[in-house]
Amino acid sequence: MHYRSMRDSDCVVVMGSNMAENHPVAFRWPMKAKVEHGAKIIHVDPRFTRTSAMADIYAPIRAGSDIAFLGGLVNFMLNSPRWNEDPFFRSFVVNYTNAATIISEDFRDTEQLEGVFSGLMKYTGDVKEWPYNGFLGEYENKSWQYARSQGKSTGWTGATQKSGEQEAGDEQNETQQRAAKLAAGGPPYDKLVQVLVPPSAERDETLQHPRCVFQILKRHFHRYTPEMVERATGCPRDVFERVAHAILDNSGADRTVSFAYAVAWTQHTNGPQVIGCCALLQLLLGNYGRPGAGIMALRGHCSIQGSTDIPTLYHSIHGYMAHPSAMSQHASLAEWLAAETQATGYWANTPKFMVSYLKSMYGKAATRENDFGYDWHPKIIGDHSHMPMFVAMNEGRVKGMLCIGQNPATSLNARLERSALRKLEWLVVKDNWLHETATFWKNAPEVRAGEVSTADIATEVFFFPAAQVAEYDGSFTNTFRMLQWHFKAAEAPGDCRSDNWFTYELGKRLKKLYAQSSEKRDEGFKNLVWDFEPDKPISPPGEPSAPKILKEINGYTSDEPGKHLGGFDELKDDGSTTCASWIYCGVFPKPDENRSANRQPDPPDAPGQAQLGWAWSWPANRRIMYNRASADPQGKPWSERKKYVWWDEGKKRWVGYDVPDFPLEKPPTDKGKPGATGMDALPGTAPFIMKSDGYGWLYVPNGLVDGPLPAHYEPAESPVRNPVYKQQSSPVYKYWKTAGNPLASIGDPKFPYVITTYRLTEHYLAGAMSRWNPWLTELQPELFVELSPELAAEKGIANLDWVRISSPRAQVRAKALVTRRLRPFTIDGRTVHQVGMPWHWGYEGVVTGDVVNEMSSLVGDPNVSIHEGKAFVCNVERA
């Protein structure tokens, strides 16, 4: 969501985030909405924080119970007279979501299977080269699919997906095999895409069919009553109902609600399902693609969005395409395309994106004869994300690590991660300061305590001082996809160098190292295009040209590199275009026009306030995605107040304040061509063009490995039994069973309290950017644990007492901050206490403190392998 658009919200719900504290600058926009037109701010959170202080309603919930709360909201809406009577909701849901789509008769819901979905089985997918995927169970999603009546007659078979990276040995389905065969000769790939077109799904627009998504939803969520919400979350029923009414009252043709979340929704063993549950709610309420609507995914770092667009993620390549895998049906480019191309909707252009990407990697060496160098591209063999990587490292499977802008010595289950660092042959740390990871071999607590001797650590550690952002040219991609160029303002001192400098130099030296190699495996390095030499020397020597990097990302005509591409509709699948990241295509359309450097704000009274002249936002400089939904099915604005993009009957095109997110000349009356590929397949009423059917998905038949609908599961460690289902936790979450990573059993009396970890405004993440700055450390000098007066009294703890906090992994010391901002919860009839700790401290810096992350465990979500730092269990005692 475009965060400026929160200014247009009539109600902002902050949940899974402490927006005022951790995104204070973006929080400007909800505050403007509140001051300028009386928008309601709601904060749903385990703690009363600085965000709660600004809220009209604060709803307390136990950490880890978000889906119970959101599910309660879904059930509330489905049963409310207003939602059932207002034609706006009906029209939005029938036309813009998959509510009417009918699901396979093989599907079984949590209602039928005591809390799990059909398709659950034991996980067997690890390979011996990488036994670190961490899965306990997995789902086969065949039974979750849309019902497609003509499937058999056309010979089409749907893709079957299983959890993560375990597909080794699976047979590719027949449709994909046929598609791959057609594409084996190289481009054009039109026939491949055509073969992949699925028969149309069955629908019932009356929403009465018992297997249509809408009816499945009603059955699935019926148990999430206000009573159940109170039992599972601890939020008093009347507070929950005030929240529900405020959200419903501020949704409709004339009003919009936005949600904001951050890592307090993601860092759970079912994080994507929490976000999915909110998406479901917002779709039901018509809060998508409209001013002041949507879900604001707050990202904590100035370019963390950029780091997933052009990813530092292991499982995707630029522009959210799947990383080639040795374990999937990815043996050749044709097979990759057959497995990864979605034939209808905008993703039908995947072959163009992929071939242009490969051209950016291997340049002239990438030809149609050699699959554009696809074989040279690295392949993954499993889950290579943070947690499995450190488990493997701890078992001596990883030789060296480049640690840039990260501080794993204070990260998850930090003792285990530091133990892993000791197994490395070499470690490169590039950062501003000698932080905990740089000095783990001499200053870590286990070294100081004499448990480990520096003399026994063989890891060779290299430290590279980093230049600061104002010391080089480059761009940031902010939380709502906007690229902003920044200019060098000062020389970096001494040997400090930019990350660009480091990576460019490293690449040059590796290329030199492999230049004489005749090994087939080194061909990728030899053919890698690696030329970012500045035309005029810039200081310091070796600093690459940032505009040349942006040019490669934006794309150009392969044979005429001076001719930049103007947008992704110019991309070709035959190698004639080069473009590293299709979603960024258009940011640098001419050699003298870097649109990320644009700085032209809208006049204050301009309608829409899309600010199209300020920097550049992907895709295509669009500010609100799926903005076709801001008009009704006929193309008219839903209301004057929420007018944004609409169909101009005179001009026969989509117009508005923003760049329309729809084929400009496709009229609302277009029915979509059955059997066609790409955008032609979608009707003129389908706003969600990245989805194969153009609908917003209330029910997710594929893409999530842990279920097509959200269900409340307890965190991996919880003091209570799941009040909602017999199934305690997600049956498919990831757990790395290894020494030093034990988990507490349900209701373990040794660890009776819930603990949640978080950040403070005054510090930044693991502290490398704040604990060395006295102006910041004086504001929050010492580690503390926040606890309620009730728990403090029970444990004989006074404010500022030293307290020992322990989990099954470790114990730490902190000072007590006793405050009514924390409270005991009544869960399923009994009192559950909860404590909270910020995790910014470590053993280096101006101020030091224990490493809170020593207490967290290596458990993760099965979709994205994120850890569960927001809810686990602990004990507290006076130290």
């Binding site: 005022a20 504290e21 204070p24 600058v25 929080f27 400007r28 505050m31 509140k34 001051v35 009386g38 009363f48 600085r50 965000t51 709660s52 202080a53 600004m54 604060y58 403070l760 405004t761 005054e762 700055n773 006295p774 102006w775 910041l776 450390t777 004086e778 504001l779 929050q780 000098p781 010492e782 503390f784 404010n799 500022l800 000072k815 901050l817 405050t819 009514r820 901002r821 409270r823 101006v846 101020v847």
Partner: protein, 259 residues
């Protein structure tokens, strides 16, 4: 003289981010307490505690929760020098180090200050203290150097929610009055302006919108100029010296007991 300039601090939109404190320190190059290694106060999220010679902005954190938590709020307020129209500090300064600028703000000139501390006692708000680096009395200058160059003060520039607003005092007062009206209409009847009219020391050029009694924010309900109390103060200062001496003695004894 240019138009009187000042701050309107609307505490109802303060998110307690302390960006004002840091921006002030950075612009004015003020040192951190104890080199940044101070101790946790235990008083909510306030670890700098008060305005003084090196803290020219200070954010207060006031937790107000009933035992059952049915009523609860966390008042956040960024405090600063009030730049009084009738300024006690200016009145008592023996070296004329404290001046009224062309912006109607009150500024201590460090190079003229002899560190006599008279102004510290004269300020009814406890704003001023000695900066240990310069050994002179210091406080907010309303970024006099920035104002002279047409820039707004560092704190208001950094404030993400416009809790701190800078501008001509006349304009700020109009805006503030409207805001109070808006809050009253929305049900927040406790909202009022502190120091926005002449009744308080001729008017505070830096005034506040509050939602509780002044004392809750450690502000005097009825601040007085030192000159109004001259006859009585002679008597009190004698008594005061005795009391201060006694307190100092006790403190010294306590200090020697510390390890």
């Amino acid at each position: 003289m240019a138009e009187p300039m000042g701050f309107f601090t609307d505490t109802t939109v303060c998110i307690g981010c302390k960006a004002c404190e840091v921006a002030c320190k950075q612009w004015n190059q003020l040192p951190a307490a104890e080199g940044g290694q101070n101790t946790l106060s235990g008083d909510s999220y306030d670890n700098t505690r008060k305005l003084d010679g090196t803290h020219w902005r200070h954010v207060q954190f006031i937790e107000q929760f009933s035992e059952d938590r049915k009523d609860g709020r966390w008042l956040l307020m960024s405090d600063v020098c009030k730049h009084c129209v009738q300024a006690g500090c200016l009145e008592v300064c023996p070296t004329n180090a404290i001046i009224r600028t062309e912006f109607d703000t009150v500024v201590i000139q460090s190079d003229v200050c002899n560190g006599c501390k008279a102004c510290i006692a004269a300020c009814p708000f406890g704003v001023i203290d000695i900066n240990p680096v310069s050994n002179t009395a210091q406080k907010c200058t309303l970024c006099y150097d920035r104002l002279q160059n047409g820039m707004e003060p560092a704190c208001s520039k950094a404030c993400p929610t416009d809790s701190i607003q800078f501008g001509p005092v006349k304009e700020l007062r109009e805006r503030a009055t409207k805001r109070v009206g808006q809050l009253h209409e929305g049900g927040e009847k406790r909202a009022y302006l502190y120091g926005a009219d002449e009744k308080m020391l001729g008017g505070l050029n830096s005034f506040f919108l509050l939602v509780d009694r002044p004392e809750v924010y450690k502000l005097p309900p009825d601040p007085q100029l030192p000159s109004r109390n001259v006859p009585m103060s002679a008597l009190f200062s004698g008594l005061g010296a005795l009391v201060a001496g006694a307190i100092a003695l006790v403190n010294f004894r306590n200090r020697t007991k510390e390890p």
